[in-house]
Symmetry: C2
Subunit: 282 residues, 2 copies
DNA sequence: CCTTGACTCTCATCCTGGTTGAGAGTTTAC
DNA sequence: GTAAACTCTCAACCAGGATGAGAGTCAAGG
């Protein structure tokens, strides 16, 4: 029986793939041409080899690697194939979840940029209603207000290290904050209490604690330099005093720019200093 | 002011990345060390460069390529960044959908293998209840029963070509079937009518038509070779006649093995020949 | 039989975002 | 002073091809 032989170009166009792909499959041992002219080196495929090529294309659509395809094609063990496919589904689900997390992170970055664009200019005081927020905090091991910004950054690294040890990835896409106890704030004592990130995750270990910040009115001021925090804390207190706002909870310094592309100067960041307040006239 | 300089190893461990990665970022112009010793070539980083590196790592987590990161870092145009991120979200959504489609396809492949495993051995006749099925069909341009399998494969390629022109990808993961009109089946006339794939998609163009196969009882027989179809069609009709089943619709030849790894012989496929039947005794 | 255009060959290079290794040179700590 | 740890450059490798150069081959028409 005379077999019909196809040139590599015919074979490729018949199956809507590139000629180079067929050569690659030959090289990898996935699909060896039925006949190779020993003089010219031309590859000729049997028309029946379409079935195998079809299977290869199909398995590629399923997301199998060429190595896996070769493996399946060599040892045709139905049980092993089912196991491999089951594993593949698992992996696909993981990949999907990872991509979804990434999409959430990008959306948060967009929100952060929008937020920055629409925020009051630095130096403005305001009274704002803020919804409930959940934070993941660790206690400050040292008072970074006494040192320079690198001391703060060290604490930040510590926080991130602990959180990534807890399996929380994409730590960068959460906003960061630090706190001073209400008592210290009122007394004018600059004593760092906690460093944290805003996150709805409810992790709770001996080091990392999840905590809820109550909703309500907060006295706020926006600044754009790390070094401005220290002088602005008394000003925020004065703002409260002047307006007879009663400080009702811990002071918070919130880093608004998760996405800080504005300068290589690490001190340039967009901050919202804030403290929860209540009113006496009720 | 004397700056604190960090060796490449310190810089890497501080940010939990590999030394080689830092060298790569240097080479790509993403993060150039503050100082390079002209004699030894050793790289030394300023501690303030952590901020920039942090941004790079953050943007990498967002799924931006190194080229995109460099672009953002160079021209710090807030509007362009927002646009780029918006585009990124779009692309992520597409990728997620593609992966989900792939997962569906792999699950279909697993089902197909299971189905094969649990099906009756070839040659068995059976009466089965089958649910409603939707198909995407094209009319056969020639009667492949008159020729060999390559004629059938040509029709198949034609179907796939048309469907992929309609934007239906992953065509391989749908099961395939062919039909003969009820009249011809009863008359013993082997005349191919349509070739189609089982799919819930409701495409409808002048060439590709979506159609619903009714639920009900079907007289079925399983075979495992393409060449067996022709002799088994009359046997299926005889099975109906013997049991006084009344043929009530078009005959269908269903390819059960979407995942056919069993042989390179294109004729080896697992088929379920079937025809819908009703009963006179009611 | 010859020409021309279409095909095909091999080999090399490039893409991403790094990782790994070889072989040589440098810094740091004891 | 010496050994260990660190760093340098350069090259190759991963997957799954895409692209191109330069040379050789095939088929159809005149």
């Amino acid at each position: 029986m005379k077999e019909k032989l196809l040139s590599i170009g015919k074979m490729a166009s018949l199956n809507h793939i590139a000629v180079s792909t067929l050569r690659l499959y030959d090289e990898k041992g996935l699909l060896t041409p039925q006949f190779v002219d020993p003089e010219s080196g031309y590859r000729y495929y049997d028309i029946n080899q379409n079935a195998r090529l079809d299977m290869i294309i199909y398995m590629r659509e399923l997301g199998l690697s060429l190595a896996e395809i070769k493996d399946i094609l060599n040892k045709k063990d139905s049980a092993r194939i089912e196991a491999l496919l089951g594993y593949k589904v698992e992996k696909l689900s993981q990949d999907i979840n990872a991509l979804k997390a990434q999409r959430r992170a990008v959306n948060r970055a967009i929100e952060s940029l929008e937020r920055y664009r629409k925020s009051p200019r630095p130096g403005n005081f305001a009274l704002e209603y803020i919804e409930k927020r959940r934070i993941l905090a660790i206690d400050c091991t040292h008072n970074f207000y006494d040192d320079d910004i690198h001391s703060y950054e060290e604490l930040l690294r510590d926080l991130r290290l602990r959180l990534s040890a807890e399996g929380i990835s994409q730590i960068h896409s959460y906003n960061i904050g630090t706190s001073i106890k209400a008592r210290d704030f009122i007394d004018g004592k600059m004593k760092a209490d906690q460093i944290f990130l805003f996150s709805d995750l409810k992790e709770n270990t001996n080091k990392v604690k999840s905590r809820l910040l109550d909703n309500g009115m907060w006295a706020c001021v926006y600044i754009d330099n790390y070094d401005d925090e220290l002088p602005y804390i008394p000003l925020l207190k004065k703002y409260c005093d002047d307006h007879r706002y009663h400080v009702s909870g811990d002071y918070i310094c919130e880093v608004m720019t998760g996405f800080n592309i504005f300068d290589d100067d690490p001190k340039k960041m967009f901050l919202r200093l804030q403290v929860p307040v209540t009113f006496n006239n009720r």
